[in-house]
Symmetry: C2
Subunit: 123 residues, 2 copies
Amino acid sequence: MSTQERIPAWCPGQEWCSLTATASLVGKKWHPVIIHRLLANGPLGFNDLQEEVDGISSKVLSESLDDLAEKQLVERRVIEDKPVRTQYRLTDLGESLEPVVHAMASWGEAHLEHVDDRDASLV
Amino acid sequence: MSTQERIPAWCPGQEWCSLTATASLVGKKWHPVIIHRLLANGPLGFNDLQEEVDGISSKVLSESLDDLAEKQLVERRVIEDKPVRTQYRLTDLGESLEPVVHAMASWGEAHLEHVDDRDASLV
DNA sequence: CGGTATCCTCATTGATACTG
DNA sequence: CAGTATCAATGAGGATACCG
């Protein structure tokens, strides 16, 4: 994979390029959740993962996993038993996102929870 | 602002809700950059901010700031001099995102830089 | 079980121009 | 300086169905 795909073309070499590049990974709707689930529950099959990430369609999950695999954050491993199984696991690079995902989750818990105090009708 | 807008409706009360909620703030293309610039360079006027965030159109900057203000991460302050000036600054809630933005920027620097070693034609 | 293939809708972005 | 208006383009996401 080339830099072109990792560093967006419109990013004009600023100080914050790496920030937006990270956002383009972690900012996708389902990517942080998928990473979070794989961090928590180890390697998972496709359908297991779909249940973990409740609400995602198989199409979007498939596309997300393709994207994550292309970015070398997730590794797809086919187990050649019968019936054939598939496992998705984080690569080392993917696991290295743990602090980022953790920071995001922590912030959400700390700062969105007290919003619920004002309007606890949901959640 | 109600919980409905902060916690996405499709988020089924899972463990990772707060994660996706954070992602919906920090995952927007320009939001982390705007926050980063405001963290680094204090209060800024509209046009100053547009220069800091090189490449953003005034329309998108305006919309992003509206969004950030609505989420109480950024405060808009009109200075009633002549000519009228505007200042955008982070709220306390906005500043509390510093660890998240920092984690994202650090990860990007640490893990995208060595990609450039393989293809240093850009950046 | 582990996906593709369609089709559709809506959100986001961008370019450009214009205003008080 | 600080935006708004308009319009076009893109693409992410969702619903559903189907396949080996």
